[in-house]
């Protein structure tokens, strides 16, 4: 088949990356994110995710502007009495700093934001578990700009939701998932006195439980069965593998998802750079020439290098079975360490200046990667310290190392090695 004009998709979905710190924000954007989501010091769900001060937010916004990228702030806690005090000031500050939108789930906070910080766009958090088109229509009528879908929504359902709504849709494409419908879990509250919906989730869903039945005399009979080998008892667990939708970018684009979200504000710059880089490539490749698009296995291989668990397509193509849960011994995933970040490169001497992030030494097989999905591997030969003295190991955190590299590198390129 021949066509006279090549189809090009100009309305590309946004790659939305997590940014737990200012460094992660800058990294995500350098590596191709169109937008990042961060946490403020209040009203968020990740109390330990390294939240931003107002000054850091302002710096993050200024940085994002240079790249034409957006910054969203998650304020997705489910408030109790007293928690919303000061929320009006907070939202006004967000607006005045230049934050592009806030991500909120609690209607009380949505109301405060809409009334007191007019002009600041509101996105409904996945915490509110929006699972059907009428729910999106409701929030649209309330003036929300975007709805983050529940992770339980299937691809078919997204297609129908798109047809029946005209509010922006955001969907998770990568990362760890709540086992419950988000927000509908208080395991932490009951088991550990920590409020899951106010930043205290203890991930109790990943624990190992007993499973038993009670007879009429309240006698317990354990129902735990044997594991894979049959001899060891297998604990009950809800824990599941993570999500990676890299193989299904065309369907997500064609179904009109406006924003593709990567989970993980607690994760490293190694993770955020790698994942943003991969999805940037896939989306650009598809939108540039959708009719001749070919999936590149290297993208998926790359995602595995920063995977904590195995990867799956979540609820997009069916209800997850036992194969998507974590039973038995954890299956081995080749683990990579982030060992350095490039600060400078001298084209004449072919010497790179690197900031150490983890121990490495002569003879190590390493890999460099950078924005635009550049990659190469080499073995470390000569190395020098900051004073140009030869060294064979780089043991100290953040120490400056110089080394000869086989291909040109750029500042902010990263260096990793297989553990």
């Amino acid at each position: 088949m021949t066509t006279l004009t090549k189809r090009v998709i100009t309305k590309k979905p946004e790659v939305l990356a997590p940014a737990g710190t200012l460094e992660k924000l800058k990294t995500a954007i350098r590596y191709g994110a169109d937008a990042v989501f961060i946490g403020g010091n209040a009203y968020g769900l990740r109390s330990r995710a390294g939240n931003f001060t107002y000054e850091e937010m302002a710096e993050g916004v200024a940085f994002a502007r240079e790249y034409n990228a957006k910054v969203y702030v998650a304020a997705n806690m489910v408030a109790h009495e007293g928690d919303t005090e000061g929320a009006g000031d907070f939202f006004r500050t967000m607006r005045d700093i230049g934050i592009d939108a806030v991500i909120v789930s609690d209607p009380a906070l949505i109301e405060i934001c809409a009334m007191e910080a007019e002009g600041l766009p509101i996105h409904l958090s996945t915490q509110a578990s929006a699972t059907n088109y009428e729910t999106l229509n409701f929030w649209k009528s309330e003036g929300l700009e975007r709805v983050v879908l529940a992770r339980e929504v299937s691809m078919e359902e997204i297609k129908e939701i798109r047809q029946k709504t005209d509010v922006e849709i955001e969907a998770f494409i990568h990362g760890a998932m709540c086992i419950s419908y988000s927000g509908r879990c208080t395991l932490s509250n009951h088991m550990a006195d920590r409020d899951a919906n106010r930043g205290g989730c203890t991930q109790s869903c990943r624990w190992k439980y007993g499973l038993f039945e009670l007879d009429e005399a309240a006698e317990r009979t354990s129902l735990l069965g044997g594991g894979e080998s049959g001899d060891m008892e297998e604990a009950f667990s809800m824990s599941a593998v993570d999500m990676a939708m890299i193989r299904y970018i065309p369907e997500l684009v064609e179904n009109g998802v406006d924003s593709l979200k990567i989970e993980g504000r607690m994760k490293s710059i190694h993770y955020v750079s790698t994942v943003a880089n991969v999805y940037r490539q896939a989306i650009d490749a598809y939108c540039a020439d959708p009719d001749n698009y070919v999936f590149n296995q290297e993208w998926e291989d790359e995602l595995w290098k920063v995977a904590q668990r195995e990867l799956s397509s979540g609820f997009y193509y069916g209800i997850p079975s036992e194969d998507e849960q974590l039973f038995g011994k954890p299956r081995k995933i080749p683990a990579y360490s982030f060992i350095g970040q490039v600060l400078a490169y001298d084209d004449e001497t072919k010497i790179a200046t690197i900031q150490q992030r983890n121990v490495f030494g002569q003879g190590d097989a390493i890999e460099f990667y950078g924005p635009g999905f550049t990659h190469f591997e080499q073995t470390i030969e000569e190395m020098w310290n900051e004073d140009d003295e030869p060294i064979d190991r780089a043991p100290n955190a953040m120490m400056i190392v110089k080394m000869r590299v086989l291909q040109p590198v750029r500042p902010y390129d990263m260096m990793r090695k297989q553990r």
């Binding site: 408030a79 419908y181 509908r184 395991l187 509250n189 009951h190 919906n197 038993f212 036992e322």
Partner: protein, 304 residues
């Protein structure tokens, strides 16, 4: 006036419950969450007739999270309920509220998004959008409940007896486990429990139905010893949930709460009556299940 609301598992049980409670809480699994029984349309109609004949009311559970297929099916159901004369529905999905407004359905609704309903401001948000009441989350302390009671512009409902759901997953967690270990699943029986690692005495009920997997707190709630606090604090809608307390046992418990309510309203409630009620409830509570006062007696400061 205190309103007693009780789940019903059969017409027979409903008939007896109506001697003691003001409102029956019923529904079908397709649209309602964690009900003791899923009723046919004919049964729901009959239940409403029965309650109305006794001068009582019926609230129907329409509080599930709906995916596209069911948001489509819910409108005819709501029309059926309006036609059948249901007095109110519980709703937790804003899509349902949107549909009711769009279609001008005259069916009062109580906002019930389970774990999410945690403040007066939130309740009032929905009240301004037509909710005539709200069902409060179980993770609220006494201080929080009293404050909500003072500030909410519609009445709020509190669980005084029954199990607390603490996790709803769309994943078939029980089925998946049994598939993995290669054993036949126990299906929809509601006799399974989880125990926490290193806390072997704990017993969290777990079961699956068409709404997913549901896990319940290790202790059921009984606020038998706190009814005067609720009464004085204006928390006057009391829910009795019979999901795990069956048949006549649940009727007996409802009867005791009714006695307690009468004493309170007649200003005859004493420490002795509180002790008596606690003992009665304890005695009738199913073997193997335990009771406590849940978050009511926790200090809000202790919950991080």
């Amino acid at each position: 006036m205190i309103e007693l609301i009780a789940t019903a598992e059969s017409l027979g049980q409903a008939e007896k419950l109506l001697e003691n409670v003001d409102t029956l809480y019923i529904g079908e699994d397709e649209f309602g969450l964690r009900l003791p029984a899923s009723f046919s349309r004919a049964e729901q109609k009959e239940m409403i007739r029965l309650a109305h004949d006794a001068g009582r009311k019926v609230t129907v559970a329409v509080n599930a999270l709906f995916h596209n297929d069911r948001i489509q099916a819910v409108l005819p159901y709501l029309e059926f309920l309006a036609e059948a004369g249901a007095d109110a529905v519980t709703v937790g999905d804003p899509g349902v509220i949107h549909l009711m407004a769009q279609h001008g359905l005259q069916l009062p609704y109580l906002y019930d998004a389970q774990t999410m309903v945690t403040s007066a401001n939130q309740v009032n948000f929905w009240a301004k959008r037509g909710a005539v009441g709200a069902v409060l989350a179980r993770e609220l302390t006494k201080e929080e409940l009293l404050q909500i009671s003072r500030q909410a512009i519609v009445p709020v409902e509190v669980l005084v007896y029954g199990a607390t759901c603490i996790h709803q997953s769309k994943r078939p967690l029980v089925q998946n486990y049994f598939n993995y270990v290669g054993e036949a699943a126990a299906g929809q029986e509601r006799t399974l429990f989880l125990s926490e690692p290193k806390k072997e005495d704990t017993h969290y009920s777990i079961y699956e139905d068409r709404n997913g997997t549901h896990i319940f707190a290790t202790n059921d709630v009984s606020l038998a010893g706190q009814l005067d606090v609720l009464h004085e604090g204006g928390l006057l809608r009391w829910k009795l949930d019979g999901l795990f307390t069956k048949g006549d046992t649940f009727v007996r418990i409802a009867k005791q709460f009714n006695e307690a309510r009468k004493l309170l309203e007649a200003d005859l409630w004493t420490m002795v009556s509180a002790g008596w009620l606690q003992q009665e409830i304890q005695q009738h509570h199913p073997v193997g299940r335990s009771l406590d006062e849940g978050f009511f007696v926790k200090n809000p400061e202790d919950i991080a």
